[in-house]
Symmetry: C3
Subunit: 359 residues, 3 copies
Amino acid sequence: MRFTLNQLAALTGGELCGDGSLSITGAATLSTARPGEITFADSPKRAEKLALSQASAVVVPRGFSPPGLPYVVVENVHAAFQQIVLQFRPERPRRSVGISPWAAICASATLAEGVEIHPYVAIGDGCRIGPGVVLHAGVKLLDGVTIGAGSVLYPNVVCYENTIIGQRVIIHAGAVLGAYGFGYVTQADGTHKRSSQLGYVELEDDVELGAGVTVDRGSYGPTRIGAGTKIDNLVQVGHNCQIGPRNLICSQSGFAGSSSTGENVVMAGQVGVRDHVHIGDKAILGGKAGVMTDLAPNQRYMGSPCTEEREYFRSVAIFQRLPELRAQLMEMQRGMARLEAELAAPTSNEPTQRTSAAA
Amino acid sequence: MRFTLNQLAALTGGELCGDGSLSITGAATLSTARPGEITFADSPKRAEKLALSQASAVVVPRGFSPPGLPYVVVENVHAAFQQIVLQFRPERPRRSVGISPWAAICASATLAEGVEIHPYVAIGDGCRIGPGVVLHAGVKLLDGVTIGAGSVLYPNVVCYENTIIGQRVIIHAGAVLGAYGFGYVTQADGTHKRSSQLGYVELEDDVELGAGVTVDRGSYGPTRIGAGTKIDNLVQVGHNCQIGPRNLICSQSGFAGSSSTGENVVMAGQVGVRDHVHIGDKAILGGKAGVMTDLAPNQRYMGSPCTEEREYFRSVAIFQRLPELRAQLMEMQRGMARLEAELAAPTSNEPTQRTSAAA
Amino acid sequence: MRFTLNQLAALTGGELCGDGSLSITGAATLSTARPGEITFADSPKRAEKLALSQASAVVVPRGFSPPGLPYVVVENVHAAFQQIVLQFRPERPRRSVGISPWAAICASATLAEGVEIHPYVAIGDGCRIGPGVVLHAGVKLLDGVTIGAGSVLYPNVVCYENTIIGQRVIIHAGAVLGAYGFGYVTQADGTHKRSSQLGYVELEDDVELGAGVTVDRGSYGPTRIGAGTKIDNLVQVGHNCQIGPRNLICSQSGFAGSSSTGENVVMAGQVGVRDHVHIGDKAILGGKAGVMTDLAPNQRYMGSPCTEEREYFRSVAIFQRLPELRAQLMEMQRGMARLEAELAAPTSNEPTQRTSAAA
């Protein structure tokens, strides 16, 4: 499959600069594009990477005129490039499967119109599946699970009893909702007795969960993920947590039990949050941050235990030069000893004597 | 569904203080309870959070008399509150499914009395399933797996060949036991050759594993989890590890190969343990600790590489003030230079001159 | 099952030193071997652990003559011990299952000769499965997945649309390839709009992925794992990453989007790599390292943000003694104040006066 640059410029409504008869054989990112392919650079900051790219043409935003290759200027680089990619590699239409005869659905479950139930799905007693819901192959719903309209569960997602899922929720493969919380009471003999596990998980509307995410049920009530919050792969949310709306939680972060976040909190990867703390609205946490106390809203945090970001970086810069700092300290100790020796000696300020003392 | 406070007090054998005719519409935790609902406060330390709660009544322990709302005094707050929660939201009885016709069970497998095998379970050659075992939908057992009486495997758990599971073990959804260990011998040409993967995984009695946990098989023999040890979601246990009895290992912690722990070790979340080290009995590791050497028993550790907890916090406190410490050091360097200059100069201690030197 | 030491020496072509008539009942590692069993010590460095082992015999390399028990000297200790272990616990031959009638295979999929498709596998439209491929129970392939000759996917692996898998690839249970990348554009109202998810995942030949690994699809093209790279359990590879050939990535490490690595990079466990950075050939990263910038090749790194390994350890050593360093600094401040006081006072160096000033 190939298109001329003229065709691609017309497709995206862009303005062409260069040879429009050039034949383009594919579309790829800056670092992966090969000769004959078109790429995109969404900012003049990418000029350096673009110069190293093998691409034969590039889509750019207004005001960026890269030298050395033909380019198409557009308003929205990502939207235009998406159109081009779809031209070369059209999205595969997903066939409607309806309700697979190879799904195990309890008679007491209710399925709304337009659901798609793939093979090897198991649906327990009393589940309620809203209109247009897609359950991909191998999804397992224990008893009493409710799923709102338009939600999609990818293969092998597991929902324990009484999980509540809102509308337009997306859950990626292998995520597990509603396993027992990690709560034990240690007995006098050192054994651990499981505490109450009577709660459930609730995902509000427009939540998205990545592959392999785990969200434990609450002890007595819900562990809740707020509307519009997006959670990346392999994140752990402990029992009783109340995650606010529109958070962005990156991969491999974890919440111990009973913590909460405000609105629009952002966490980079591998952040850890201890139990029973609250993170304020719009707080931004850097990668690997460790949260051990409540955090004020509207601030950036780094480090473990985390502190305000700029302070953290100042401390880190010194940490990385600690050997130097220590050497300075030792040098000063020697200088101090020298001064004290001089002062202790009968008053004499002859330079020669000082030099010998320093040697 | 609603109950009077009198009814709930009678149910729990508690002592009521306040209006017993009050109608209660639900039971929820301090932070999630709404007006009309009852909550619990298991310690006077919760007084502040209770004052902020919207709950209309509260269950408290003896000796805690919260002002401003009716309360029920009981011996065991959690046991009493569990009773109340079950009153409002009775546990759904799990139906016996017996052995689903939609399970793929090799003829050479042996199933004891009273097993529950849900749909889409696959059981390999020579597996032995003990009495009362529950295999939820989608559990996959490769050949030669043994499971002791009363154990429960939640949906999509995978056990590789020859896994041995004791009695009363609980394994949450998506956990994987017995994948190959991460052991390779790098060849002269830079490729990696897999080393021996002849071992298996053994879980002793009363072990509990969280969702998405991975435990790799030993190289030649068992990777073993000791009796009564509880492991939280997304924990990784590498090949040949020997985890002791009654450990508590929180979410996202990881053990590289061939490490071991004593009895009643406790690890908070995201701890990392390098290969071939031993952690002594009752050691307690804080969140994100990094273990790079053997650890003595009965101590608390923090940091990476971890050190004794109090020492760690002393160092961290200074780390967070390193810019200040460095400023002090530089100030002293200036002071020192001043002193040296004075001493080098012809003896003169007039204050005016010193002031000008410092300016 | 039991063998004489003579039999085991003959089996391995080894040289026996000690009582060959000794009856051996099993084979196990140094720390797990019981009396009557044989173990191995692959280096004289293991002498101490061997002395503590309960084993009754040991396999050793040439040049290591352990005292106190019979031993078998061989050229390759691991190869010989593997032979012995297989004697005691022969590998269970995996039965050919052919194509299970309990697999859901779209008519448009093409299956080469000699494939093994276990129960509850789902294969989407247009998938192409190469010769000798094994899909264990519960594997789910969405539409358009390609798998090269001889690859093995363990139970419950999920591949999203258009995943490309090379030859001789091994993917352990529960891994997920091709879920949406974590890319959103935050709107003026604080909601998050998913960005383009048009790409796919490509694993080159001889890649191995551990249990629960997640690799997200690229935004427009491939997220790629290079030939011969081995990835341990629960690792996250974000969208658009280009992992080089023959890397070794240990458990629970994570790559944010659009990062890349060179050849033969090694990462210990729980490493985090931010987005858009490159790690040079043969770089070695210690456990829990945090990568926030490009890294030069052929170096060892530790810490977060990571620095050159030796520098890091020097800084850490001082970090752990910061309270001491601070005490020294404060002692010097007092000494300095003393000196300044002396210099400010009318010249007098009598020791008695200085002592009183220091008190």
